[in-house]
């Protein structure tokens, strides 16, 4: 039997509209906000399954800093969560003060790439 469904881009799932106790809401995207360095004050809406952070032409999320590698890190969306992964950059990824190779991001995390500091804000 065909059912009316609503698809949630972030969660790759479908939920029947008439489920009791459930009301579809407008999805707000996850964001990265520039907190220090050259990206200060900038907001980056995370709206793709894969994004490349870097200062090169191939970066889909460009960061204008010599301390950021051309392809510094990759953001991958999986079931509504973003994972950040080092692409072999010179200065690495520092998550809340800890150098990591990769991490699933959580609301409020501070991510540092060279002199660029970004805060991760989860949408709904």
């Amino acid at each position: 039997m065909a059912r009316e469904t609503v698809e949630f881009e972030d969660f790759h799932t479908q939920v029947a509209v008439r489920v009791k106790g459930f009301r579809p809401v407008v999805q707000r995207p996850h964001l990265l906000e520039g907190k220090a360095g050259p990206a200060i004050g900038q907001k980056f809406v995370l709206d793709a399954n894969e994004l490349i952070l870097g200062r090169g032409d191939k970066a889909t999320l460009p960061l204008d800093s010599e301390e950021v590698s051309r392809q510094h890190a990759k953001l991958t969306r999986n079931e509504g969560e973003y994972t950040i992964e080092d692409l072999g950059s010179r200065n690495g990824i520092v998550l809340n003060g800890l150098k990591v190779h990769s991490a699933i991001l959580r609301d409020g995390d501070q991510v540092q790439l060279g002199d660029v500091v970004l805060a991760y804000r989860e949408g709904t």
Binding site: L98, V100, S102, I104
Partner: protein, 293 residues
């Protein structure tokens, strides 16, 4: 020489604790992936192992070999095994390690899949699952050397040291260090002073680039939990200091501890390391992060 990659899949102690108050550090119980080149080692089979299985199956490797090391067979260290997807696939080989002449780990891992507890029988799993023993206290997983050492815990537990080239990672959970102090009274007499631990334990951890350690209790909580098999987090710092460890991951977070509580314990432990005048990086183990050692 390959790097060592360490990924945390479960960092909670005792029982899974999902929910908003534990979302950042995570609610799954003990499971850590350690990878060196193509060699995949898994330390503990707590509920975090389910997500690891999902991750491995997505990679669609033709053949998969998993070296599984169990600190001990208490629930929070084996419960994820029946939900580990690759165990159901006939292209997977799993080696389950235990002490020489003792296949207790293998038996208890399979025993939890008895019909009264779980609907799928161990014998029906598709993977080739083989019990392996340590020869003495050392074994080779691929080209990687793994050493084991005994710990203080009700029923016993084992710590592991992974060595590759000049790098080393120690996995030491469920270890009541405070029961091993050479001078137990020092905690009351001089709480700020270094709490000395036995030489053999310090040697097992000596110079590790990363120590992943059970740090379940605050000093206050520990007084009510003596003999339960877990240490004061501050005593773990003292072990790391004596062993000249580079990085300390506090793990086996108490199920009653929220993310905020863990943050405060990490802060307290960082301050203790500083008070001892050493450069030790202390952080809280958190699900979903990977470190390159």
């Amino acid at each position: 020489m390959s790097d060592i990659f360490v990924r945390f899949w479960g960092v909670r102690g005792s029982i899974p604790t999902p929910g908003p108050r534990t979302r950042r550090y995570g609610g799954n119980t003990s499971c850590v992936e350690v990878r060196v080149g193509d060699t995949l080692m898994v330390f503990d089979a707590g509920t975090g192992m389910r997500e690891l299985g999902v991750h491995l199956l997505k990679a669609r490797q033709k053949e998969l070999t998993v070296h599984l090391f169990l600190s001990h067979p208490h629930w929070d260290h084996i419960q994820g095994f029946p939900f580990f997807g690759p165990a159901y696939v006939n292209t997977t080989t799993m080696y389950v390690y235990g002490p020489k002449g003792d296949d207790k780990n293998y038996q208890l891992l399979s025993g939890q899949m008895a019909n009264a507890y779980f609907p799928v029988r161990f014998a029906d799993l598709g993977a080739n699952i083989v019990a392996r023993s340590f020869a003495g206290n050392t074994v080779k997983a691929g080209e990687v050397k793994v050493k084991s050492f005994g710990q203080k815990h009700p029923g016993g537990s084992v710590g592991f040291r992974v060595e590759h080239g000049d790098k080393s990672v120690v996995f030491a959970t469920d270890s009541e260090l405070d029961q091993l102090l050479t001078d137990p009274d020092i905690v009351k007499r001089e709480p700020e002073s270094l709490r000395e631990l036995p030489d053999d334990l310090v040697a097992a951890v000596k110079g590790a680039d990363l120590l992943i350690a059970d740090a379940q209790y605050t000093d206050t909580e520990y007084t009510q939990k003596v003999g339960w098999g877990h240490p004061r987090a501050t005593t773990v710092v003292d072990l790391a200091v004596q062993a000249q460890v580079r990085q300390l991951a506090l793990s086996h977070h108490d199920p009653m501890h929220s993310d905020r509580d863990v943050d405060l314990m990490v802060l307290e432990c960082q301050e203790r390391a500083e008070s001892h005048g050493v450069e030790l990086e202390v952080f809280g183990a958190r699900e979903g992060i990977t470190l390159k050692v």
